[in-house]
Amino acid sequence: MSERDATRTLILIRRSPYGSSLARAAIETGLALAAFDQPCNLLFVGDGVLQLLPGQDPGPVGLRNLGKLLQSLPLYDIEHVYVDNASAQRYGVAEDDLPLQVDMLSTADVQKLLSEHDQLLGF
């Protein structure tokens, strides 16, 4: 295969934090890409924005805290965390409440973001 620039990957996150094990699988895939020095961004959309809510306490349902894992993202080399603004509004997720730094995107910006990446991994 010919040399080319590093593959830019966008992880599309559509699952609510404790409704599907794919929520954690998506974040872990992003962390694995970052650990192998692959440029990687995350986009939370639809039910996925619920992962960003502060004050998660999944102990009573016997699951690990996904919110805490997300708070640790700045320690890894995930470049950007994007949030679909329309989804955030629908679920009443306010940017000021979020536990980590995100970029809110309009629908047009989301479309642009999708086209700017080489690979999309959808969860």
Binding site: M1, T7, S21, A25, F36, Q119, L121, G122
Partner: protein, 131 residues
């Protein structure tokens, strides 16, 4: 074009896995290359060696085995997902003193193999779970 697939669908809950397996065969028929299929989350159940399929339904396991045996496609089950779902190959079965449950056409590996396939392929296509 060089493709890789990511499968998170179980073989019989919905159409995702069957569509992935047929898509994989069609890619090859059309002259594309398929390097690998990575099975993550509940998708690892596609590797179940003892799945018995009713005769009037499509044999998804058979489609996967054919890809590995006739077209040298790497079929990898994510190790963290595989252990949770009771999918053990010979090595893991020995380690945990259980019976092996994964068909030998599949191997068990880490997310690093998905990262590698993602970096090399022109396209990675995800076949998602339901719900």
């Amino acid at each position: 074009m060089l493709f890789a697939l990511l499968v998170t669908s179980t073989p019989f809950s919905g159409q995702g896995a069957a569509t992935a397996a047929r898509f994989a065969h069609t890619l090859i028929e059309q002259g594309h290359e398929l390097s690998s299929v990575f099975f993550l989350d509940a998708g690892v159940e596609n590797g179940a060696a003892n799945a018995v399929c009713p005769q009037d339904e499509s044999d998804i396991l058979g489609l996967w085995i054919e890809l590995a045996e006739q077209h040298q496609v790497e079929l990898t089950l994510c190790i963290a997902s595989a252990l949770r779902h009771g999918m053990l190959d010979e090595a893991e079965a020995e380690r945990y003193e259980r019976a092996a449950t994964v068909h030998p056409a599949f191997s068990i590996g880490g997310l690093g193999q998905l990262v590698d396939a993602n970096a090399k392929a022109d396209r990675v296509i995800t076949f998602g779970g339901q719900g």
